[in-house]
């Protein structure tokens, strides 16, 4: 496998190629360019797997491949590839999901006779390429650039059905909200350059390393606005975090994500599982070496994560559409990842990133399959009893749901549990903020269990509640295939990192992911981060005890939620029990009026201001200009009145003028002395 990493660029370029093909020749090709996309993503996937093994074999790769802007006596801006365990893992996830989504799209788009397929597959290709470019980026600027391209692609794909009213608006919202986050991110990028003169993630002048040295006083950096290193790094960290919050749909910039369901379901799968939303969390993991230096930032990340996890989960409880529930579950799950990162659980968060990618992709594709069956009706209250009609979908979906709810031994359990565990011990280690975040995360587990199984029961169990549900539209291999693959993964992916088992039964060496992620550059591996971490650990009744308690509690809560759902909804004729919540339900249903206030900011504040400014511009600024001209013309009109046309007046004025001059000059010249 030597030198396989030399081919890494191809991983990015293949999907880009498929984009060009689909865009240029798509309409002349069978399946509207789908095949090109499938082939490309398959190729990328193969390469990624190869890369993955090469990396796990201890190889790493950090190479500048293109100088974007060369600074004459100023820094160069470059593109490069950084292949280490983290990026290698992410490559596999992204390419796999992308590949499956392409296949699934054959069923979801082609078979459904959608128009504009070349545009669709071009979008998918560019989307995948941008995300892969982001994953392998070796410096913050390159990361930002592909980050933005990801945003563009989400805009194009969410707004795919541009002839309707909803999708364009949703696309606009998605781009605008994330753009707001990226605004801070861009400042962060600029600030990083200004501070360290470099934005590389790894290598000799990696900015996390420089920052570390600066804090130890071994290396001097420019800070601005008269701040000290620590304060300034915190500011920079928070600025970059802005982009993360936007893309990963964390509170308060999460509002775009539910609307993004307007996009075709496979796109939702891609966005939620592997690309756009993952990008934010991945970025934090990527530059974790910088974040661990600033406790304040970590604490804020943890808080945002914990809060978002709970907050989104509660909203998921009352939604009608299946995709809406999934959307909020996504927000909530990414909250867990943020919580993990903020709590110093670098591996845990990455782990959850991976497992989530699998089961969330699975759930969305499953939902997609259901939607096909339901003739594009997404309302769960019109479904029911699909279990027998579409078994493959059902069991795959079930596996995903168990993972999402965090039921042992499905993937979600392991990762979520580790996240919570890390938070707990570091909280016990003397960080009340983390404890609070932990509490929220824990509570969210219950709601997760509840809404997940509410969704399952409403969709698949009970009696069909509509004609379409009685006689659903069948789905073909290209739908079932991806579901099967992901179903297996969702069930088993957790086994790669069974830390609790290791801790409880002392079986060494089954925390493969830990070992894997330690195989990176010295400045990028988990150990290094652990050393830098500002937290200390505390335990209740020893480490094993804590592990056991933590696991038990979270599992218990998950089961409790699931059980409640079973009680309420796993009946032939379920009713909207959530109505009992009354006012709370409306609040939840309207997402705590988050959209309302953001729309209000746009239409209630910004627009009036701009209108007022427009008036001001037309009236005052331009008024002055026009005023000047009219004043001069008016003056002209007056002045010319001197010319009365009567020659005697002329003589008189002439004499007066002369006299005036005589007097004036005489006074100056002193003639009358």
């Amino acid at each position: 496998m030597a030198g396989i990493l030399e081919f890494a660029p191809a991983i990015v370029l293949l999907p880009f190629l498929s984009f060009l093909i689909a865009l240029g020749a798509g309409r002349y090709m069978p399946k509207g360019g789908a095949l090109a996309g499938i082939g490309a993503t398959a190729g990328s996937f193969a390469l990624s797997v190869a890369t993955f093994f090469a990396v796990s074999g201890g190889q790493n790769y950090n190479q500048t491949i293109y100088t974007w802007a060369e600074g004459l006596d100023a820094v160069n801006l470059t593109f490069g590839l950084l292949i280490d365990p983290l990026s290698a893992m992410m490559l596999v996830i992204v390419t796999l999901v992308a590949f499956l989504v392409h296949v699934f799209s054959l069923g979801y788009m082609n078979d459904e006779g959608e128009t504009g397929l070349p545009r669709y597959y071009a979008g998918l290709g560019l989307f995948t390429a941008s995300m892969l470019g982001f994953v392998v980026a070796d410096n913050l600027l390159m990361a930002f650039m592909f980050f933005e391209l990801v945003g563009l692609c989400s805009y194009l794909l969410i707004g795919f059905h541009f002839r309707q009213d909803g999708p364009p608006s949703a696309a606009k919202k998605a781009f605008l909200v994330t753009r707001f986050g990226d605004y801070f991110f861009l400042i962060g990028v600029v600030a990083v350059f200004a501070t360290f003169g470099s934005a590389a993630f790894a290598g000799p002048d990696a900015f996390p390393v420089l920052a570390e040295e600066a804090l130890h006083g071994e290396h001097s950096v420019n800070t601005f606005l008269g701040m000290g290193e620590q304060a300034w790094f915190t500011v920079v960290g928070l600025l970059v975090l802005g982009g993360v919050v936007g893309k990963s749909a964390q509170f308060p910039l999460h509002t775009w994500l539910p609307d993004a369901m307007e996009g075709p379901t496979p796109v939702s799968a891609l966005i939620h599982a592997a690309t756009m939303v993952a990008a934010g969390v991945y970025l934090v993991a990527r530059m974790y070496g910088f974040y661990v230096l600033t406790p304040t930032t970590l604490a804020i990340i943890a808080l945002i994560g914990g809060f978002t996890a709970l907050f989104a989960a509660t909203m998921g409880v009352v939604k009608k559409e299946i995709k809406q529930v999934l959307a909020y579950s996504t927000i909530s799950q990414y909250g867990y990842m943020m919580l993990g990162l903020g709590a110093g659980g670098y591996v845990a968060a990455t782990f959850h990133l991976m497992t989530h990618a699998f089961f969330k992709a699975l759930l969305f594709l499953g939902a997609g399959s259901v939607i096909i069956a339901m003739h594009h009706n997404e309302d769960m209250w019109d479904m029911g009893g699909l279990k027998d009609k579409m078994p493959v979908t059902y069991y795959a979906f079930l596996s995903g749901s168990l993972a999402l709810a965090g039921i042992v031994p499905f993937a979600g359990f392991w990762s979520k549990d580790e996240v919570l565990y890390e938070t707990l011990i570091h909280g016990l280690g003397g960080s009340p903020i983390l404890l609070a975040a932990y509490a929220m995360g824990l509570l969210a587990v219950f709601f997760t269990g509840f809404y997940t199984f509410r969704m399952v029961f409403l969709t698949f169990h009970g009696e069909p509640r509509s004609g379409t549900a009685r006689d659903p539209h069948g789905v073909r291999w290209n739908v079932k295939g991806p579901l099967a693959v992901l179903g297996v993964l969702a069930a088993t992916a957790g086994l790669v990192n069974m830390v609790p088992v290791e801790k409880l039964f002392g079986i060494k060496g089954i925390d493969f992911l830990h070992q894997f992620l330690d195989g990176s550059f010295s400045s990028l591996n988990a150990h290094h981060y652990a050393e830098l971490m500002p937290y200390s650990s505390g335990y209740i009744g020893g480490e094993t005890g804590t592990v056991a308690i933590g696991a038990a509690v979270s599992l218990g809560l998950a089961l409790a939620g699931a059980g409640l759902a079973h009680r309420l909804y796993n009946v032939p004729e379920p009713v909207e029990h959530t109505d009992k919540l009354g006012g709370i339900k409306t609040t939840l249903y309207n997402n705590y009026y988050q959209d309302e206030y953001q729309v209000w900011i746009a239409t209630g504040i910004v627009q009036p201001i701009s209108r007022a400014l427009d008036k001001f511009d037309q009236g005052i600024v331009d008024g002055v200009v026009n005023g000047l001209s009219s004043v001069s013309l008016f003056a002209g009109g007056r002045i010319k009145r001197l010319q009365t046309g009567v020659v005697s007046n002329y003589a008189a004025l002439l004499t007066l003028g002369l006299t005036a001059l005589i007097i004036g000059l005489g006074l100056i010249g002193g003639w009358f002395a």
């Binding site: 100088t67 606009k172 781009f175 605004y183 600029v190 201001i609 701009s610 209108r611």
Partner: protein, 509 residues
Amino acid sequence: MIIEALIAVTFLAALVTFVLPDRYAGKAAFALSLIPVVGSLFMWQQYDASGNALLGGTVAFETDVVWLQLGQYDLHWMVGVDGISMPLIVLTTILTTLAIVSAWTPIAERQSQFFGLMLFMEANLLGVFTALDFFVWFIFWEAVLVPMYFLIGVWGGPRRKYAAIKFFVYTNIASLVMFIGFISLVFGLGDSISSLRLPEIAQALQAGQLGGFAGLSAGALASVAFIAMFFGFAVKVPVAPLHTWLPDAHVEAPTPVSVMLAGVLLKMGTYALLRFNFTMLPETARSFALPIALLAVASVIYGALLALAQQDLKRIVAYSSVSSMGYVILGLIAYTTYGVGGATFQMVAHGLISGLMFMAVGVIYNTTHTRMVTDMSGVADRMPVTAGIFVAGAFGYMGLPLMAGFAAEFFIFKGAFESTVMEAMPLFTGAAMFGIVIVAGYLLFAMQRTLFGPFEFDGDYDVTSAPFHDVAPLAVLLLLTIVLGVSPDIFFTMIQDAVNPILELGGAF
């Protein structure tokens, strides 16, 4: 002699086009305008300058002959090219050609005059960007107004007369003020210069030859001259609050003219600011850093917010030009490689992208005969290609990476952030950068309303996809934008080479 040849050929082309019958004028003008394009590309390929033309760098294609005697001063016919002007020359020739093509559809009467004037304007623009003697430069600078006045006044919209005269007089006043400021500066140099060649003046100023004049101390004179010149150029740029001629001119002007106006004419202002204020009086500029930075931020945010309030697509783009040019000012005052270089790069980038946007609006207008956001929706349904390019252009305008706009803006932001002219530059930079959010706001809103959604159009024209020769220029511009975005070094290297000497200036007097 190639510069003379270039300008002369363009003038000739203008004359030829004037006398041609209207039928052939458009095609002929296109064919003729290819000559300057080739010429400029050839110049670019032969380009061998290094350093800044005003600060003793080697100048490409230089000619320098005494033209006439004026008191103690020789006026020279001096032209030449350096890394700052070369990209702008290429931009001018290419954009003119594309604008001419995009004029085939909308310009229905007096074509020979129209296209003749376009070429006449191009010739003068080339003069502006190549002249290195003040009076030669100033002649071209003023001469540009004349064709523009006719282009707006004859072929413009309903309020064209108002817009034309407003543009004409406003910018003329500005030039006069600038003239007085600069000339007082020249006389402040006393006998240390024997001609009005810009390099000589700039170097004399660097050598600290500036003395008092007309009762002003050297320092005061420098400040007064700086303010006068800044005012003069700021109107052209335009910097808020001196921008109000721009929206009127843009809205009334026919599309190809808007393209030239936004694409090249605005750059005259920033080019002159760089050449005169920021190269000749760097110390003064630094001492005015705060007000200038304030103006820059004001232009960016104010222009963007105004664009947000507009319903007319052209007005939107017009105001967003004000916003984008604000970035240029910010970059110039930064006095860093990336700041000033990025500002210069933004001149080209914005030239391409704003040209693209105006053309796209024009292509839609050609079939719908309206530019009001409220009058149409779902146009993408009928004009998919145009809409696609429109979207691409819009994202370019929003600063999408790998398109020229992002490169320029990122350079500027980077340069401005790390600038040392002021403690608070990072704050100003951050404030200005918020423009990238607002620009996304109004462009996305505009696109959602006009291009997307179910097709509705209240107007008795049938909206069909545009002819090839309407779309082709758009495609070319888009391509150029992407190429420049993927590898900005195409121009950025030579720009930095010409810009860096400015940064080293002490410029004490």
